[in-house]
């Protein structure tokens, strides 16, 4: 630890830093899903729509691959946050 910019925040929703993401990679994460499960990066309100590309680039850099070779995290519904009363689908 203690590398340059380690305290830089990458996932703003969950306040996950570059250092935490690097540590998750050190402990075996090789794709965005692996980082997400270990750190919560990409599990906040925006569901990784802001940080995922950054996470992909960080993994690529750390393990010496191209960003396009790093699997993005699994897509999960809903596409954007959805109010429960809307999903419920009835008028009160």
């Amino acid at each position: 630890m203690g590398r340059e910019n380690d305290d830089l925040i990458i996932c703003r929703c969950e306040e996950i830093t570059l250092g935490e993401i690097r540590q998750a990679i050190k402990y075996g994460a090789v794709d965005c899903t692996g980082v997400k499960r270990r750190t919560r990066a990409g599990l906040g309100f925006c569901q990784g729509r802001t940080c995922e590309v950054l996470v992909q680039r960080i993994i690529a850099q750390e393990i010496g691959k191209k960003p396009s070779e790093i699997a993005p995290s699994n897509d999960r519904p809903p596409v954007r946050p959805l109010l429960i009363k809307v999903l419920e689908g009835k008028e009160e």
Partner: protein, 390 residues
């Protein structure tokens, strides 16, 4: 990586990782083989409950209670945080019939020495102000706890690795070769062939595939469940809350039927809400036999929130940010298989925990550890034997 191991564990979910950790404290050579990443199957498609509240009286409750004690110990022993919390749980009661069934259930559990009690609506409201006004009360269980299942799997795997277990990820098992006497001899994998005389099948819903490699039929099938995640919001609940009718959805209901639509009944929907350390709430639950399909369906999402707002109307103004599905390794009698296999010396099974794999992982690991080391397991385990299936 070695050429020969004393024990090879197949499967890096919560069961395999916990067993790896326990075995790592003995002086034997152990490898854990996982086809993907640690906790990438059912152990990341679930919630993190360690509940005796939703167990059948008897062995089911006993094993979970023993597991709860082990989790508490592990929260001190393991150097990595896994968000252990002991906050208890509540089963909401919504009808007179449920109250009757709940009362005899609570009496039975109290007689067996477990901390169950029935609380009135007023007491319930004082604890959980957001519950609906027309409930009759709840069953309260103080000893129930929860963990983050992924962090727990990572913590046990990491510590096992530090203690000398070889954790081989992205490595599929292709075959298991038996020796002339019919016992386990070799495990053939993507990373080569390893000699071993003991294999533990911790492959959960994939355990039958591994069983086929040694010619046995393991009666586990995937029972899909879907969960919704809310945004971080006000404190909807302080502890785990589920409807008493959850038990009926899980075990089949006998005479009593909940007052729900046929659709909800068909989708196996029962209300469960779990607070998490991160401030989000997990909402469930559903049950369906749809093979290995993990697709989220809008019908189930809708069914879950409709049942949810019946108990917590205040949730209507909260956002869902995510939905996911997992596959429970279901066994018909709702008990896991933690056992040697008589026909194949050296072949062991620790799988089939349905929705209780997280909760039962430590006691499963302890039983299996002793079986593998030819010692007496810490609790009776004959109900979990593979020989109970014909």
């Amino acid at each position: 990586m070695k050429k020969r191991y004393d024990v090879i564990i197949i499967g890096g979910g919560v069961i395999g990782c916990t067993l790896a950790y326990f075995l790592s404290r003995a002086s034997i050579d152990v490898a854990l083989i996982e086809k993907g990443d640690i906790a990438s199957g059912t152990s990341s498609g679930c919630d993190g409950n360690i509940l005796i509240s939703d167990k059948q009286p008897g062995v089911d409750t006993f094993l979970t209670r023993e597991s709860q004690k082990l989790f508490e110990q592990l929260s001190f022993d393991l150097p990595y945080d896994f968000e252990y919390m002991q906050r208890g749980s509540l089963l909401t009661i919504e009808s007179k019939e449920e109250m009757e069934i709940a009362s005899s259930f609570v009496e039975q559990q109290k007689k067996d020495g477990y901390p169950f009690r029935i609380i009135s609506l007023d007491t319930l409201k004082a604890q959980e102000p957001h519950v609906a006004d027309d409930l009759l009360g709840a069953v309260e269980i103080d000893c129930d706890s929860a963990v983050n299942p992924m962090l727990f799997s990572f913590a046990t795997a990491k510590k096992a690795g530090e203690n000398g277990v070889d954790i081989l990820k992205d490595c599929s098992v292709r075959n298991i070769n038996l020796g002339k006497s019919g016992g386990v001899k070799e495990v053939v994998t993507d990373l080569g062939t390893f000699r071993t005389e003991k294999v533990v099948n911790c492959a959960g819903v994939w355990a039958p595939e591994i069983g086929k490699m040694v010619g046995i039929n393991i009666p586990i099938k995937p029972r899909q469940g879907q969960l919704l995640v809310t945004e971080t919001t006000f404190q909807v609940v302080k502890r785990k809350v589920m409807e008493f009718g959850y038990m009926m959805a899980k075990f089949g209901s006998g005479e009593y039927k909940r007052d729900v639509s046929p659709d909800l009944e068909k989708l196996g929907i029962a209300m469960v809400i779990e607070p998490t350390m991160s401030g989000n709430f997990l909402l469930g639950s559903s049950r369906a036999f749809v093979g290995f399909n993990k697709t989220i369906s809008i019908e189930v999402m809708q069914g879950i929130v409709r049942r949810m707002v019946r108990f917590f109307p205040a949730l209507r103004t909260v956002n869902i940010i995510r939905a996911y599905a997992g596959l429970r390794p279901y066994v018909e009698d709702h008990l896991p298989i933690v056992s040697a296999v008589d026909r194949v010396p050296g072949f062991f099974i620790a799988a089939g925990h349905e929705g209780d794999g997280i909760g039962l992982a430590p006691i499963t690991g302890r039983i299996m550890q002793e079986l593998l080391l030819d010692k007496e397991p810490p609790v009776p385990f004959e109900h979990l034997s593979f020989s109970r299936f014909k």
